[in-house]
């Protein structure tokens, strides 16, 4: 535990110093995106990794947050930081409602995954036809730089916000792992019926997990809008965000604290590398991305964290304590 704390503090110090060392706008941007998707993956991980409920429609929470932010700014002129609270609430509400329906009717496994996808699609179609979201044309938030307005001229501002969000996400995961709530949640994940038999309110725990997941993802939606200024139904509720969230968590290691962040870092590096190496052949860079994805799945089935632990174990570095969650 002590060693982990030291490593963690060093990493944090380094992370805080990054914008002072790294001058390249491109690299700061990439790091910011790595952190953001690590955060988004982390929010997915609460439901998928710790509660064991695989969602394919994480975009439903993210997109709601994004639209809430944009709409409140454009129609009521609310401060973006304030809208972030509403966005989180919006994401949480969607989580609560969809979770209630899905869990009440006992959906699990593939069925649960599919219904989350269906909910996302319903929201996407609604967003495409509703006036308040400006339909398929999307919403653009006005350019008004300033810390108070959650818009930054340089990249460093976004980086620090993403870093803060990542820390919150890591803390949330860590708290879950070290709390009784989390232990019960993981019991539900391992065997829901057995957990119920032991007196765990599976329904309540899963519902709590999806609400937290939705709340975090909703706040993530705000960040995205503040960074890219634009949201439309495809960006908000399309499959891209859903896939990315689950991808980074699974690659990094589901049900671990650092998994989603690690997965995000690796996938973004791989994505950028393949784009750089094969810039001029259309599509080949993504082919390589797919091949790498399959190779990682083939040879590192427990994600990167799982692979790292296995490696550490073989080299004799790992702690042999059973049930360790360091």
């Amino acid at each position: 535990m002590g060693r982990n704390a030291v490593v963690g503090a060093l990493a944090l110090g380094l992370a805080l110093a990054v914008p002072l060392i790294v001058q390249s706008g491109f690299w700061l941007n990439l790091l910011t995106l790595m952190l953001f998707f690590g955060y988004l993956g982390g929010s997915w991980n609460i439901l998928g990794g710790y509660a064991g409920q695989f969602s394919f429609g994480h975009a439903a929470f993210f997109g709601t947050g994004a639209y809430v932010t944009a709409i409140l700014q454009l129609s009521l002129g609310l401060n973006p930081w304030v809208t972030m609270l509403f966005a989180a609430a919006g994401g949480a509400s969607v989580g609560l409602v969809t979770g209630f329906l899905s869990f009440r009717y006992g959906l699990r496994g593939s069925y649960f995954a599919l219904i989350t996808l269906a909910f996302s699609e319903v929201l996407r179609v609604l967003a495409t036809t509703a006036k308040i979201t400006n339909g398929g044309q999307g919403l653009v938030i006005p350019l008004r730089t300033g810390l108070g307005n959650f818009q930054f001229a340089g990249k460093a501002g976004y980086y620090y916000v993403a870093l803060a969000m990542t820390l919150i996400s890591l803390a949330a995961a860590w708290c879950i792992e070290h709390s009784r709530f989390g232990a019960r949640l993981m019991a539900v994940r391992e065997n829901e019926d057995a957990a119920e038999a032991l007196g765990v309110n599976a329904f309540g725990h899963k519902l709590a997990a999806i609400t937290i997941s939705g709340m975090m993802a909703g706040a993530g939606g705000t960040f995205y809008v503040q960074m890219f200024f634009y949201v439309d139904p495809a960006i908000a509720y399309g499959p891209a965000m859903s896939v990315e969230s689950l991808l980074v968590s699974i690659i990094g290691g589901m049900g671990t604290v650092a998994g989603p962040l690690l997965g995000s870092i690796v996938l973004h590096l791989v994505g950028d590398l393949t784009r750089k190496v094969l810039a001029n052949a259309p599509g080949i860079s993504l082919v390589l991305y797919g091949v790498l994805l399959i190779l990682i799945l083939r040879y590192l089935p427990n994600g990167l964290i799982g692979g790292a632990r296995a490696l550490a174990g073989r080299v004799g570095l790992g702690t042999a304590r059973s049930g360790s969650t360091g």
């Binding site: 690299w27 339909g135 398929g136 001229a153 990249k155 200024f229 634009y230 495809a234 810039a279 259309p282």
Partner: protein, 409 residues
């Protein structure tokens, strides 16, 4: 050279002689030993993959042809023959990838940016360009949210959709009048996203001004798998004119379904129609395509340079689509501006673009004048498929054929 004029007469001839000898000596050296002027880096970004891949690849082809032509012709002469060095990027049809790649290009030290084709991505890149004071030459990006007063370094040579929409309806009125004003009922079928729905809103404002009556408006998703029911509605409403605004695949599917269901209309008119002004459409569905009209980007059919470019593009096996020549044009305009700026510095290029009156282009436009980044001389052309080719029917000064309306039974 200027300095020679300052010498006194008796010394001029000797100096001239020395300079001339030196110049000859230098010219005799192999090219590689001569000092090369540093190339001007230009970022060129398009959707090479993702759902806009076809357009993106056409865009890139057009841009690169211009770069090759400029470099083969001696580069930027005002900078000592500096070549244009294109830095290519793929935004994968996605806003966040576009933003990321833009950062990369900015880091790499580009002097200017050309792209990114899609309006949604252009909103993001033009905002970033403003932050970095980087000249951003929009290639297509018809949305009027991309070029704006508060973005002093963003420019567009071709028209935006407000201008295109206004032009389109006044031309429709002209076409209608040329047939004695027989058309009154109009029905609109558009795709639901920014370009389709946005254009539709503009058109809906203009049509009543000319006495047209909109009987129905249909917005459809992208992609749409089947148009049978929409065609049923069209038949039931029986409009005189059908206005279509969507992407190529849906366009072709809709028009083919109309034919299959034997629905006859006085005229099919598009505004930025996905298929109407496409050579591929004419090639593959010649009969279905006959007499379809479109107000869209186009080249000047009366300009021999344009016709020559068309030949060269088609010789490469590519369609001479608007993506190609608008990008060719954007790069040529940029090169002209760099020449006038006599510098590869961003501010100088911005200044040159803003004051440009460039007339060496191949587009059917009025005189070039840049106001808040937009070329006010830009104009859409109105086209019609006649036989195996696409003709310009309006404006009259660029027309290559007469209007055929109503469509013969």
């Amino acid at each position: 050279m200027d300095t020679l004029g300052k010498e006194r007469d008796s010394q001029i001839s000797r100096r001239q002689f020395v300079v001339a000898t030196a110049a000859t000596a230098v010219a005799a050296f192999p090219a590689v030993l001569r000092a090369q002027a540093a190339p001007v880096k230009v970022g060129i970004m398009h959707p090479i993959t993702g759902f806009l891949a076809y357009s993106g690849n056409q865009c890139r082809a057009g841009a690169l042809m211009a770069v090759e032509e400029i470099n083969a012709g001696g580069g930027i002469k005002a900078l000592g023959g500096a070549k244009i060095e294109p830095l290519l990027a793929d935004n994968q049809s996605k806003v966040d990838v576009g933003a990321s790649e833009f950062e990369k290009l900015n880091e790499a030290g580009i002097s200017a940016f050309v792209g990114p084709y899609a309006s949604a991505i252009g909103i993001s890149t033009s905002q970033a360009a403003t932050r970095y004071a980087l000249p951003h030459v929009c290639d297509v990006t018809v949305s009027d949210r991309v070029v704006a007063k508060d973005k002093p370094t963003t420019f567009r040579f071709s028209p935006g959709y407000t201008s295109i929409a206004e032009t389109a309806i006044s031309r429709l009125d002209e076409i209608n009048k040329s047939a004695g004003g027989i058309a009154k009922k109009v029905m609109m079928v558009h795709e639901e996203s920014e370009s389709g729905a946005g254009t539709q809103k503009m058109l809906a404002k203009e049509l009543p001004k000319y006495g047209f009556d909109i009987v129905e408006t249909v917005l459809h998703p992208n992609p749409t798998r089947d148009f049978s029911n929409i065609v049923l509605r069209i038949r039931a409403r029986n409009p005189d004119i059908l206005i279509i605004g969507n992407y190529y695949d849906e366009y072709v599917l809709l028009v083919r379904t109309l034919r299959q269901q034997q629905v006859r209309l006085k005229g099919i008119y598009s505004v930025l129609g996905g298929g109407a002004s496409s050579f591929r459409f004419v090639r593959e569905s010649a009969e279905t395509a006959q007499h379809i009209m479109d107000t869209n980007h186009w080249y000047n059919p009366l300009n021999p340079k344009a016709l020559d470019l068309r030949k060269r593009v088609e010789a490469k096996g590519l369609d001479f689509s608007y993506e190609v020549y608008l990008n060719y044009n954007a790069v040529m305009w940029l090169a002209d501006s760099i020449e006038r700026a006599r510098s590869a510095k961003r501010e100088a290029i911005v200044e040159a673009l803003a004051t440009s009156t460039w007339s060496g282009h191949i587009l059917p436009y009025g005189p070039t004048k840049i106001v808040d980044g937009q070329n006010t001389g830009a104009m859409a052309a109105t086209l019609q498929v006649q036989g195996n080719d696409i003709q310009v029917i309006l404006p009259k000064q660029f027309a290559s054929a007469k209007i055929v309306f109503p469509a013969p039974a």
